[in-house]
Symmetry: C2
């Protein structure tokens, strides 16, 4: 993701009780965003440019924005890098079992077993 | 839904093993389609024009198409009417627990308790 000296807008996150189910389902209904969620399920946080996805930086930036605004991930900036983390506890509080069930469903698909394209 | 004498295209349905998770999540990521799914969860089938949703016929027709092509519902025509049914068993076979978990998540939202808009 390219870095510049221009000021970035503040990163906004919905409060846990404001997480919208339709936003979450929409955010999960995309293979790239699902990959990001699966990666973040396995580790506490990760720098944005280091995910195993093969999309243009502007597209990736859009995917992270959709995930953050849905409440699925949180993001923070540090030393000119942006880190993402899954809001697993918030999601579990808001919609118990949803994230695990969707990830289990995804694990049953061929796409989950195939190498990243 | 308006009826005419022109021939309609055949109704296509994905096989159970071809039901795509991203299609299902996308289909569920809409309030009108969620209402249709919730109604069909409670009864075996229902004629298309009788759902408690307030959208234009062409919009409703699109929603049914998205639901059918995702594998969430089946449709059949009889006596110039189209009936829809939830493919609950197929969904449960393909993605165990997914539909119930999403419906339970939806029941926790304010939208679920509010009157249909």
């Amino acid at each position: 993701m390219p870095r510049s000296t221009r000021r970035r807008p503040a990163l906004t996150h919905p409060a846990t009780e404001e997480i919208d189910l339709f936003d979450v389902l929409h955010a999960l209904a995309d293979p790239t965003r699902m990959t990001i969620v699966r990666v973040l399920r396995a580790e506490p946080e990760r720098a944005c440019g280091t995910f195993p996805v093969d999309v243009a930086p502007s597209t990736l930036s859009h995917h992270f924005k959709v995930l953050r605004e849905s409440g699925l991930i949180s993001q923070r900036e540090e030393a000119n890098r942006r880190f993402s983390a899954l809001r697993a506890a918030d999601l579990e509080h808001r919609f118990p079992g949803l994230l695990d069930t969707v990830l289990a469903a995804h694990a049953r698909t061929a796409e989950a077993a195939a190498p990243q394209v």
